[in-house]
Amino acid sequence: MNTSVATDKSLRLPITRLKPILHKYGIVLAFLFICATIAVLGEICIHNGMWDSNYFLTQGNLLSVLRQVSINGILAVGMTFVIIVAGVDLSVGSVLALAGIVSARFVTNSSNMLIGGFDSPILLPLMVAICIGAICGFLNGYIISKFRLQAFIVTMGMLSVARGMTMLTTDGNPVSSLDRGFRALGNSYTFGIPTPVVIFAVIFVAAWFLLNKTVFGRYVFAVGGNEKSAQTSGIDVHKVKVAVYTLCGVMAAIAGLILTARTGSAQTSAGFGYELDAIAAVVIGGTSMAGGLGTLTGTLFGVLIIGVMNNGLDLLGVQSYYQQIIKGLLIVAAVMLDPSRKQSR
């Protein structure tokens, strides 16, 4: 339902052609604004001797910000698809944990033997994780689309179920002391870039291509924009939805694998509440929860904004209470700064 009122339609036309650019522009603006603020505050800190140099703008710091955001980034990629089809997936956090803990058990069992040249400490768990993610996602999508239920409630159910299963698999205990080779997934570097960042980059590019260049991508937008029209246009709405939720589940699983590798232990409490950050990133990125509108580039910057914010506030040693307040205000500010915003609701 396009509920944006006549008056603001006017905004659309001029930026139609540039819309993608302007859209990015808006969110990039917000992003740069936040970076600038932190950098400036940094300079102030230097001035009154709290900082020796501008820690924020060091390459090292920016790299570790990237590494910190890669997990939320991967979740947000999947979430973007889901939200564009006018859905939402609250279960990503739990699915992340489930995939993490189950696959972790395969790590510990499979240290260092080789499967077809790959060193299995990564290969086997990866496959396991992806399967789990796919199953959870598939169930979400299937139930939502088949019984025409609201995504919110179904995925909320999955949130609870998956978390319970996670606890069950190890009777609540973490799986720890994981194989070095596996942990490389989280804490090694590839061409001088943290491996998680590389993985995130690859996933992002692939997803971007999928959403913007393929038939499937078009169908995703159509289904989100108007399910009924999509159906009469010959799109298999059910398939599209199931595919999207499955994709989201797989992303959650991969994120879970990386988190496990990074922290060196798969914990039953992992990923608790991550869904909110992921959704926030997507929405900050300009994707409308009403469906049919959205960009992955926006999501990318949404993710970065959240990451830089946390990093900056920690660097500035802002007290946690103020940090929460500022974070809240910045999120809203970021959304306001984005001109393309006015279109979606």
Partner: protein, 310 residues
Amino acid sequence: KDDIKIAVLMYGMKAEFVQLMQQAAYDHPLVKSGEVKITMYDGRYDALVQNNQAETAIRTNHDAIIINPMDFDANIDVVDMANDAGIPVIVTNARLNTDQMTAEVVSDDVEGGYLEAKFIMEQIGCKGNVVILEGPKGGSGEIQRGQGNEKAIAECPEGAVKVLERKTANWSRAEGMTLMENWLMKHQGKISGVIGQNDEMALGAIEAIEGTGDSVDNYVIAGIDGVTDALHAVKSDKMTSILQDANGQMQGSIDVALRHIIGEQYKPTSKVWQQYADQLNWNNGLSKRYDIPWTVVNQQNVDKLLEVRK
């Protein structure tokens, strides 16, 4: 009375330490033998939920309540309800702001915080900078362990040790890791000690340090609880952990509870009482407070402790 039912109210089920306590409960001799039945409640990190569950436990005729409270004040109702219902109520692990409970079987968090900080102070010879990874703000754990930290630091000469940063990582390893990463960016080479108010956050710090290619040997790191990963870390000389005896707290509580249910003739069956024979006095189960001692985990005792976990 045929079989005895004890309700155990846990504030939540997501932390490994809670799992250890839960396990300890099921491992208690009389529980194993089936004479005593345990009902575990998951407080879902919400004080009100725990109060509701106490109500439920009483309604289902449990003979005693053991509560590991979510909140220092908000869970006092549990004690009142139990008293009204005339059943013993034992507070374990964390404390409650009342003296109406039958007994409390706890480890003094102030002491724990003191021990870990003290260890670090000794290692760094009371000079250099430290950072503190705190528990959730306002929680009794954070407050009391924090007091302990302060106490130890204060024992160093005025201004010898500087606390560069202190911030909550909500008991979480992932959050601890991120926070430490950011601090490392800022204080490269300036941090000599890391005080984690629990092990998970300390372990997160270790990951962060190693993640930047640095070596943990350049840092003195300590945590509290003695979760399995921490023990492994101690073994490989990455940190020190102050072991909080989940087994002692839980099985001790069960013994005390049984003493009040059964009476005089009950003799404690858990081995905690021998284990700490010198520091811990059964006193016929009538003491108001049992302090389960802390154990500083080190190379000597770590293997033994790891054995128990298997």
